[in-house]
């Protein structure tokens, strides 16, 4: 068995993006970031504020709900922070870290969640970007995730740019890419799953990236492992990851 299952790798590395005292937001259709926030609350000692799209503030449920908008994310909350409230918080720059998903992602951390094919006559109509177009340029730090790591999901050129902005990190089941939005730079490979080489990742990535600084992703800590096992007792997270074409024994 490999050290990391796909979903675990995504969740833990999304959790590791959180910095002390940040206000962090996970939105609709975002089970993995929700899991990351809950994990971080349990596994890390520093304080941060976790806002969920369900309206709860700093709610840490015992178990994962199946929906990231689930009222389970209200249980025990001392406040309801409405949709208007967290969007305004984001657009005035006070939501420090926002998780956003996408169907396609390019080297600048821009996303396509709108359509495959021509927008007006799509081959595949995608869900849409949610608040991404207003949040990505206004919040200081955006963390992206994509569960399918392939040349068709991580692309050099997006078919449609749903949102662009302050992306700092991209997590897939194999790799953690980082970039500095202030420099408008491309992603570089920051860390990779120990059982996958940078060359293998490059072969499966549609955009070119610098791997000079790449290191193996640090092993899951005991507290991360314990938190993950506790909140995902029913392995719901695995439903969130598609069958990536197998690399090594993963």
């Amino acid at each position: 068995m490999p050290e990391w299952r796909d979903a675990e790798y995504v969740v833990v590395n999304l959790a590791r993006a959180i910095q002390p005292n940040e206000v962090v937001f996970s939105g609709v259709n975002s089970v993995l970031p929700m899991a990351a926030c809950i994990l971080a609350k349990r596994a890390y000692d520093f304080p941060f504020t976790y806002l969920s799209v369900a309206g709860g503030v700093d709610v840490v449920p015992e178990r994962l709900p199946r929906s990231s908008t689930d009222p389970a994310l209200l249980a025990g909350s001392a406040a309801i922070f409405s949709n208007e409230d967290f969007y305004d918080l984001a657009t005035r720059g006070k939501l420090d870290l926002i998780y956003l998903g996408a169907a396609q992602i390019d080297a600048f951390g821009r996303t396509n969640v709108s359509a495959i094919g021509e927008w007006a006559h799509p081959k595949v109509r995608l869900p849409g970007g949610g608040g991404a177009a207003v949040m990505m340029p206004t919040a200081p730090r955006i963390a992206l995730w994509r569960t399918e790591h392939s040349p068709r999901t991580l692309v050099e050129k997006l078919e449609f740019i749903t949102a662009a902005g302050n992306t700092v990190v991209l997590v897939t089941p194999y790799a953690v890419f980082e970039r500095d939005p202030a420099k408008n730079e491309r992603f570089h490979l920051a860390t990779h799953r120990p059982d996958v080489t940078p060359a293998e990742i490059a072969a499966r990535t549609g955009f070119a990236f610098d791997a000079a600084r790449a290191a193996p992703t640090p092993t899951m800590s005991k507290r991360e492992r314990a938190a993950l096992d506790a909140i995902d007792a029913f392995d719901l997270l695995d439903n969130e990851t598609p069958k990536n074409e197998t690399l090594r024994g993963a």
Binding site: V28, G55, P71, P127, G129, G130, V134, M136, T162, A163
Partner: protein, 272 residues
């Protein structure tokens, strides 16, 4: 006072074909789903759906050929079920004309309508192809910062429909948990309709008037619909009925018919 309490069927009939409707709630949570089903049952046509994050609702209406236009931010069944298949197909087949938004751009449009102004500024958006796609305009800050800001046009739905936890005979509607976008929605729409889980006394609501999301004078009509948010959740009363959502997602007209017939409001004792 005019009697505001009507049947669910009457409420659905009061929404004409061609109307633009803003639905309350978000994804599988506190949506006025019984009313959505009733629109399908009455064979509604050519509706426009306005909602930042619809899913089951717009999918069901697409499946019933009731919706021809939509303003949405993100659309999915969610809860592990992924994309909304009938909605997706309707767009891919050209049967549904989408105006793609970014959640807050819908809210900004609702806020503009609520405040009686023709447009509202909204932060961000630059760098997104949505700007050009929707031909949104920008305004340079007239106060000298030089900052350019996107403005979106007002969005005033013909009708807003929300599902509340409690309502009194006057239409005062109380909601527990997140209001989602129901506040700006009910202020922006030309008409406000409410379905609610329970009829309560005005005195009950008066004990905590702060919890009333929509005051009765703004509400045109209401229907009492127990389990009206099924198969979605209604905090704190019930959770998502995942089995029912899965059954809904089985393909074919028969599965839809079974779903509509099996809904709580379709049971004889409720429709009495």
């Amino acid at each position: 006072m005019t009697e505001k309490i009507v049947s669910l069927a009457e409420l659905a009939r009061s929404i004409p074909d061609g109307a633009s409707i803003g639905f309350g709630g978000s994804f599988l949570h506190r949506g006025p789903f019984a009313l959505v089903r009733e629109l399908a049952r009455r064979g509604a046509r050519d509706l426009e759906v306005i909602k930042a994050s619809p899913g089951y609702d717009i999918d069901l209406l697409a499946r019933a050929h009731a919706v021809s236009r939509a303003k949405t931010g993100i659309v999915a069944i969610e809860g592990g079920f992924g994309l909304a298949p009938a909605y997706r197909r309707a767009i891919e087949d050209g049967d549904l004309k989408l105006e793609e938004h970014s959640c807050m751009t819908i809210a900004a449009g609702l806020r503009a309508a609520a405040a009686g102004v023709p447009f509202a500024p909204v932060a961000g958006v630059f760098g997104s192809d949505l700007l050009e796609l929707n031909k949104w305009k920008t305004v340079v800050d007239p106060y000298g910062t030089g900052k350019e800001t996107v403005v979106v046009p007002a969005i005033a739905p013909d009708v807003a429909v929300i599902h509340a936890n409690e309502v009194d005979a006057r239409g005062n509607a109380r909601v527990y948990g997140s209001p989602h976008w129901d506040h700006p929605l009910t202020r922006a729409a030309k008409r406000v309709l409410v379905t609610a889980e329970r009829l309560v006394s005005t005195e009950h609501l008066a004990q905590q008037p702060e919890l009333t999301l929509v005051p009765g004078f703004m509400v045109e009509a209401l229907a009492i619909v127990p389990r009206g948010a099924w198969p979605g959740s209604l905090h704190p009363d019930y959770e998502v009925d995942y089995q029912a959502v899965a059954a809904y997602l089985e393909p074919g007209d028969e599965a839809l018919a079974r779903h509509l017939a099996g809904a709580p409001e379709a049971q004889a004792f409720v429709r009495a």
